[in-house]
């Protein structure tokens, strides 16, 4: 019992941190808060009402986390492109955006696995399986991060569309994220440095 409770508390706290740290504008905060509150309510419903139906709750949970993590990635990207001064915290923010994108993609894969079971195949000897919700979360987070970083996920492979094309698209997204964000940050840093070295005109 302690394991799932600990997991739900940790995930809820992490998403609360995302809400508090990433979103500054009022409309964005409202959307993010609604997504976070949905995740928390859905996560705790089975403890309060043990007879509640499982499948719809999972569907709502994954959709809400997809919305929150995907939206957070977009907001972080927008902030990066609006930055004129690059600080260390902005670079760490870009790294957070990368990891949040992996979270968003993994929840998209979970939705695919709900609507099209058997989209991913787990090879023999792998420590977790797709048979349980818990195992699915662990496996598809692993697949998502492997795909985003182009490392690949070894024993777990997508075997059916749209999972096949989406894992490839995630790899493309990951490459472009790195390229575009690094280019933007380096460009802003260079312009910062050149502004410092050029003396003001009299």
């Amino acid at each position: 019992m302690l394991g799932p409770v600990l997991s739900d508390v940790t995930v809820g706290t992490l998403l609360l941190l995302v809400f508090l740290i990433v979103f500054n504008r009022r409309v964005n905060r409202l959307i993010a808060f609604m997504a976070w509150a949905t995740v928390v309510v859905v996560d705790w419903t089975p403890y309060m009402l043990p007879s509640s139906p499982e499948a719809p709750l999972r569907l709502i949970h994954h959709s809400a986390v997809l919305l929150l993590a995907g939206f957070a990635t977009l907001v972080i990207l927008r902030n990066i492109f609006e930055q004129r001064v690059v600080r260390v915290d902005d670079i760490l923010g870009a790294m957070c955006g990368y990891l949040l994108a992996a979270v968003a993609w993994s929840h998209l894969f979970m939705l695919i696995e709900i609507f099209s079971p058997g989209s991913f195949s787990v090879g023999p000897g792998f420590g977790a399986s797709l048979d349980t919700w818990d195992g699915r979360i662990a496996v598809l987070n692993y697949v998502s991060l492997g795909s985003l970083t182009s490392v690949g996920s070894g024993a777990v492979v997508p075997v059916r569309p749209p999972a096949t094309i989406l894992t490839t698209l995630e790899a493309v997204f990951g490459q472009f994220y790195i390229a575009v964000v690094v280019a933007q940050l380096a460009g802003a840093r260079l312009s910062q440095a050149s502004q410092r070295t050029i003396p003001p005109q009299a």
Binding site: M1, L2, S7, L17, I21, D89, G93, D134, G135, A138
Partner: protein
Amino acid sequence: MNTLRKHKHAVLLVALVGVGIMESLAIGGCWGRSFPT
């Protein structure tokens, strides 16, 4: 408090990596949702 506000993304990054490590432990059945209940 001010230091935390200045380095808020550092806090978020540590949290994301921490939960990621816990998830990877869950693959091995050591933590969280993979616990037998």
